[in-house]
Point group: C2
Chain length 478, copies 2
């Protein structure tokens, strides 16, 4: 006889049970099933699934940066330092990092916040980026940006004036945030990016959102994803200033998810830290948590699991709480920290790896530009599609018109209209895109997010397939 379970759906943490990671919804599940069927030889109208749901450049075919991987391999196996075939600057870098490891082993814990020289290199990178000195003591590494975002958000789990805490986030948002807010029991307060105005966030909309939420909760923080995910849009500087003023006026702690900052192709990147600094007091004195990761950018080393937060001007109490929570989990991967060091301090002119490194980065950026341009061309040319050009991140987020009869059909099948759309797209073309409902969208609007493979041909074919599919879809539901 099987004993009763001591932990069931009824008494397990209900917040964990309610977590939804919408980018892993029914469309992805069907894609995985189709891949299994194809592997078993089942005939489909396509030879392989195009995983346009993945925000994982290596999985999409982008090659790793050689210098970074050389440093990681040397740090993992220091015997290689004496072997031929490694550039001198890679050896030097690995030695410098190993010198800061206890007994020169990447197998020893680093301090919970990270290795001192890597934190120093990050601080130098941030200082250079922002034109304002960064303090290495404000920099903490974690097992990916997600891990740090969770710790920072957890700091707000505390009632204020008897009201439950809440966090404001512009919609569409990346479901890591909605999922983490759910798990932490923080109220999510939506405000909507304005697609008609290039995904800007208006003061009016922020004020509306705050006013309505403040009836029964206390909004404590504001999350901004810039460059945007899933929009691919970079905020204008004016809009950033507006957001900063809004946060200041309402004493909101600003969390800036800036993980796609290196992926921008069309304009300069302004960090919130820089903008706040240049706005001067009192804005230059506000608290800020800004996140970066080796999983995005040109390195795109998702599997190495290292991200960082710069916790700027946090109060002593906040820092203590943060360090307490981080300390329990020990450090992040030391090999990941090696990779991070290469990202923030790439080979410099005169270094043996310089030319190759620059060429590799240039190639990746050029491919990214090509894919973004191709996506924009294709989506601008499909009737019923509209698409703000992406500013660089590895995806496009077109808006699509879904006929009323298709919306009815979706409801009858217990699906959302964009889920029905993406499921049919997948079934007929093999293209796996993420429905906009996974990110949140204004009622009555529909989108999907499509990430770019590194190789051109499959992407061009996928874009052509999307077009054909859409025209059929319109006929089917005319």
């Amino acid at each position: 006889m099987e004993p009763e379970r001591s932990l069931t759906a009824d008494d397990v943490n209900q917040r964990q049970l309610r977590v939804r990671y919408a980018v892993r919804g029914p469309v992805l599940q069907r894609a995985l099933q189709l891949e299994r069927e194809l592997a078993q030889g089942v005939k489909k109208p396509f030879a392989s699934v195009v995983r346009g749901n993945l925000a994982d450049c290596h999985a999409l075919g982008q090659p790793p940066l050689t210098f970074l991987r050389q440093v990681v391999a040397l740090a993992a196996l220091p015997a290689l330092l004496a072997a031929p075939g490694f550039p001198e600057d890679a050896r030097r870098r690995a030695r410098r990092i190993l010198d800061s490891c206890a007994e020169r082993s990447v197998g020893a814990y680093s301090p919970a916040a990270g290795l001192a020289p890597v934190r120093a290199d990050v601080a130098a990178f941030l200082s250079e980026r922002d034109g304002v000195p960064a303090d290495a003591d404000d920099v903490y590494f974690g097992s990916g940006a997600s891990d740090l975002i969770k710790t920072v958000l957890a700091m707000f789990v505390q009632n204020v004036n008897g009201k439950p805490p809440a966090v404001m986030i512009p919609i569409p948002q990346y479901p890591l945030f909605s999922g983490t807010l759910t798990e932490l029991g923080l109220r999510q307060v939506d405000c909507f990016l304005d697609e008609e105005r290039d995904w800007e966030l208006s003061r009016e909309e922020m004020e509306r959102s705050l006013r309505e939420a403040s009836v029964d909760c206390h909004v404590r923080a504001l999350i901004i994803i810039n460059p945007g995910n899933p929009t691919g849009h970079v905020l204008t500087r004016e809009n950033m200033e507006e957001i900063v003023r809004f946060a200041y006026d309402h004493r909101l702690f600003l969390l800036a998810d800036e993980v796609y900052q290196e992926n921008i192709i069309s304009k300069p990147f302004h960090s919130f830290k820089k903008v706040m600094h240049e706005m001067g007091a009192p804005y230059s004195q506000m608290e800020l948590a800004s996140f970066l990761t080796v999983s995005k950018g040109l390195a795109a080393e998702c599997g190495l699991r290292v991200g960082l937060v710069e916790l700027v001007r946090a109060s002593a109490g906040a820092v203590t709480a943060f360090r307490n929570a981080r300390g329990l989990m020990q450090c992040s991967s030391v090999l990941g920290q090696c990779a991070l060091d290469c990202v923030v301090r790439p080979p410099a002119p005169g270094d043996e790896s310089y030319e190759r490194h620059v060429a590799e980065r240039r190639h990746i950026l050029r491919v990214m530009e090509e894919r973004a341009a191709a996506a924009h061309r294709a989506f601008s040319d499909i009737p019923g599609y509209s698409c703000i050009p992406t500013d660089g991140p590895m995806f496009a987020y077109p808006r699509i018109e879904i006929p009323e009869s298709a919306q009815r059909a979706a409801r009858e099948q217990g699906l959302l209209p964009d889920e029905l759309y993406c499921l049919q797209l997948l079934e007929e073309t093999g293209v796996c895109a993420t429905p906009g409902s996974g990110f949140g969208q204004r009622a009555g609007t529909f989108h999907f997010r499509l990430t770019f493979p590194f190789a051109r041909e499959p992407f061009d074919a996928a874009l052509a397939a999307v077009r054909r599919f859409h025209l059929n879809f319109l006929q089917r539901y005319a």
Copy 2:
């Protein structure tokens, strides 16, 4: 003018603020300061600090396992697969793991639970260890065991029958647990290991603890650390059965921290899974979460940050909650997973690396035995010390008598008696040990935990210094 902080000690998450990681208390802080002073040339009665507080073998001088590091380097830089100097089985292993990575890159995310072949290898290892089949689907990797322990404990954060949830843990315990329970807002229910009976856990004590706690909370789970940390003691099989029956009778979910299982030198290791299986129904049908890590054992790769949990017979609801929470954080380090694969599936007889791997492991085990024996000899010979022989983990946990006048002196300085003892030990000898109060101890008893360096001479010198110090200490406070 500095604006008001929006996140302060008053309104930050108070549970994070209350987290204590006692192994990082005043003694360690002073040790770090002494190291800085020594580096600046300040004269001390010792040349260097002996970091007997570290549970980090590489930091204590233990060398990494060559095969493991070769596989990690090859996976990081696949160009090396064509280079000379690597044994064929290391190449084969790296290729096998790379084949399971998207586009053969360790920079791609693995599935959140881990790479399929590594999970399969873990399941094969567990099956072999326990004599009962393990299911790879029950195995999940995380960024260290700590990370997974936190996710599993978080599952119990839910009131039951209107009572707040609580978790029982034998004292002394490792402060990761007390700290994580504090952060999660779970009540910690102490029961005491019986030092007089070789650190056994009696049914009477468990019942007493449960009865008293159940007045105002609902005890949902029981954590067992075996081999013990800080005790270094391995539970007898009879005691394990007693614990299992107790957990069954009270419907407690058993969490088995078995991370030191490979460090045992004196007796066979029995996992809770195996014991439950061999006890038969209904015990063989109970839920269990068992934790393992590459940070301990003979690999001891703390810095690579990979641990695993086997979640056995968990209900569908529990599994959903667990997967939801894990999925948000993506995967653990893929290079760490490579290391884990080498741990659970070492080179086999006939493999090119076999002899060397066996010799390296044997050497580490022998050193561990020597240090444990030396510690036991030394501590048995100091008046006022008593010490259960360690069963293998990399530390000893002697009990020490502290004279009443020293206890008074401590109180006057705002210190606990064992803190005063360890601070003076550090100041006079350079030996940094962790006071027993960091782990919890029965009122009126005092201990410290001392971890073993890999090199013999400094350890022998440290043990002699402890003896001299103690005799002086007794005189000082006679």
